[in-house]
């Protein structure tokens, strides 16, 4: 309630002093205040969405574990195929599972949003 009364006071006083500069100054301050409100609203919206996704902790856990397991599984399958093709058993499996572990970790970090600052991930 404080703002409208203040604005009313301004409206009452300003016409005598007048001037376009005054009007633009007031517009600017209004813009700044609107901007502040918009930013605040966006922030609250973001925290709200984050909260709702956090409350579903079991879903989050299943999601992240699936990300990690799939990385290791993909590495294992690739290693097995490599061993079958090139008869390098067991080295293909050993190396590819370790790489799959790394890929699983990468998936995990991406899913958890820890790598959002990386430019490569901006599009995700």
């Amino acid at each position: 309630m404080a703002d409208p009364t203040k604005r009313g006071d301004e409206n009452g006083q300003k016409p005598d002093s007048s001037g376009d500069a005054d009007l633009s100054a007031r517009l600017k301050s209004l813009d700044a205040r609107l901007e502040k409100v918009a930013v605040q609203r966006r922030e609250t919206k973001e925290t709200q969405t984050r909260k709702t996704s956090d409350s579903n902790a079991l879903g989050q856990a299943l999601r992240l574990s699936a990300e990690f397991i799939s990385g290791v599984a993909a590495g294992g399958i690739i290693g097995w195929i490599v061993d079958r093709l090139f008869e390098t058993s067991p080295w293909g499996l050993v190396v590819c599972i370790i790489l799959g572990f790394c890929a699983g970790m990468l998936n995990l970090f991406r899913a958890a949003g820890l790598m959002k600052s990386a430019p490569h991930d901006q599009k995700r």
């Binding site: 879903g59 299943l62 990300e67 990385g71 799959g100």
Partner: protein
């Protein structure tokens, strides 16, 4: 007490063509979607009625999800994404009806759906961008000596996508249905034990009711997650490595 995994058994209905109860429910889900949407859009009123509103909300929802993830040019994949969403959602919800078979609780079904998505991403990516699509595997700003490792890890990470996509949906549906069956089994076992123990029977029954509500939530949520991830992967095909 019935085995909790008995509900996932595949039973042949017409053995000659390999038509099983799983196929029956897949056909049923598809028929339900097509029939339902045709019924909902039969009037094509400007002011939608009840059923038409539902169809329009579903359409708007999937279109919004797709547009958020891929932008306007991703809308050419709308038929694929909408079909996937409706199929997974309907199959999940059909499975919630007692006695019905849950198609998405079999990993081969979800894996086939995931392969369809990844296949689309790879084929479309190569057609549209050619070898530039491979830029997806080399993130910018990586020092030269590290590049071979990163590329291999990125490739494995890419290949793990269909696995994680299918695993997530399958694991959620499987775990939920087993948990429901186990708690329902407790009710029967406690009642059968008789005497004072029988008075404990309502406790797992309450749990089963709570789980049922949770399972409906999971069924819808997993269909949504599947759709969102599909959109994200399609976005990679549209705009590979910047």
């Amino acid at each position: 007490m019935a085995s909790p995994i008995e509900q996932f058994q595949i039973k042949p209905i017409i053995p000659a063509i390999g038509f099983t109860n799983s196929s029956l429910f897949m056909v049923g889900a598809a028929a339900l979607i097509v029939g339902g949407l045709m019924f909902a859009s039969r009037k094509r009123a400007i002011v939608p009625g009840r059923s038409q509103s539902i169809a329009e909300i579903l359409h708007e929802f999937v279109a919004g999800t797709l547009k958020d993830a891929t932008g306007q040019e991703g809308m050419k994949f709308f038929p694929l994404v909408f079909s996937l969403f409706m199929f997974v959602l309907t199959a999940n919800l059909l499975g919630m009806i007692p006695g019905f078979f849950t198609v998405t609780s079999h990993v081969i079904v979800t894996f086939a759906l995931a392969l369809l998505v990844i296949g689309t991403v790879v084929v479309y990516g190569f057609i549209k961008h050619g070898t530039h699509f491979l830029g997806l595997f080399s993130p910018p700003g990586v020092p030269g000596w590290l590049l071979p490792f990163i590329v291999v890890i990125e490739i494995i990470s890419f290949l793990s996508r269909p696995i994680s996509l299918s695993l997530r949906l399958f694991a959620n549906m499987l775990a939920g249905h087993i948990a429901l069956k186990v708690f329902a089994g407790f009710v029967v076992a406690l009642l059968g034990a008789g005497g004072a123990i029988a008075f404990l029977a309502p406790l797992p029954l309450l749990m089963a009711v709570a789980l049922m509500a949770f399972e409906f939530f999971v069924a819808v949520l997993q269909a949504y997650v599947f759709t969102v991830l599909t959109c994200i992967y399609l976005n990679d095909a549209l705009h590979p490595g910047h």
